[in-house]
Symmetry: C2
Subunit: 144 residues, 2 copies
Amino acid sequence: MPTPQTDPPSVRQQALADVLLPDGDGLIPAIAQQHDTGEVLMMAWMNRVSIGETLVTGRVCYWSRSRGRLWRKGETSGQFQRLVEMRLDCDGDTLLLLVDQVGVACHTGRRSCFYRAVQGGQLHEIAAPAVDPDLLYGVGHSHG
Amino acid sequence: MPTPQTDPPSVRQQALADVLLPDGDGLIPAIAQQHDTGEVLMMAWMNRVSIGETLVTGRVCYWSRSRGRLWRKGETSGQFQRLVEMRLDCDGDTLLLLVDQVGVACHTGRRSCFYRAVQGGQLHEIAAPAVDPDLLYGVGHSHG
């Protein structure tokens, strides 16, 4: 008879909910990284509700601190993030989201939010917008 | 006569100190990424002093929230991070550090702190320690 498949003893399993350590506001920073190129796209915040929705739908949902509500990334701009894998760090207080980014991650129209590099104490722009943000959000809008 | 070299008009320069937006505690999250492989190693916190020291010395210095003091990464373990480039995000409230990591970034002895992946609501270890943490910190120690 075939033996049932089990994880090797070295692989310990824990429930995500038991290990998460959000801050005093119930939030946890989440880094979004393009899964195949390794590019770090952005950092935003999640809470237990947005984490659950993201895992269930496979589309990344953050918590917007400025708007005080769930932020379904791409809901305005169409620039969605498909979740490939969610990882947690050693302390349980930071998430790494491997994603497939549709279009651009940054509200400025750039692929990544980290488009400024420090050189001699000055910030230099190292990436230009790939798309006009007015086309993503409408004139005068921001984020989404 | 040769004209003086200037940046093209499209390159806007700003002083880092003028654009940084730390949180109410004066802290800003900093993501450390291995500069050549793209691996996200860890997330920790910096303040203006640790940012300044990092830029001057070229060795990454964080602010330890648990210990309430500067944390010169590797000071105990020898697992230093050499700064290759510091980047800032669009909102001015998150740093991305491109680093060259000596040895391992994680206090568990793993290369990256993000060694657990969520599968079906459970965390699975996807990376084993590369080195015994007792060898880095001494028995009973943590972090550094």
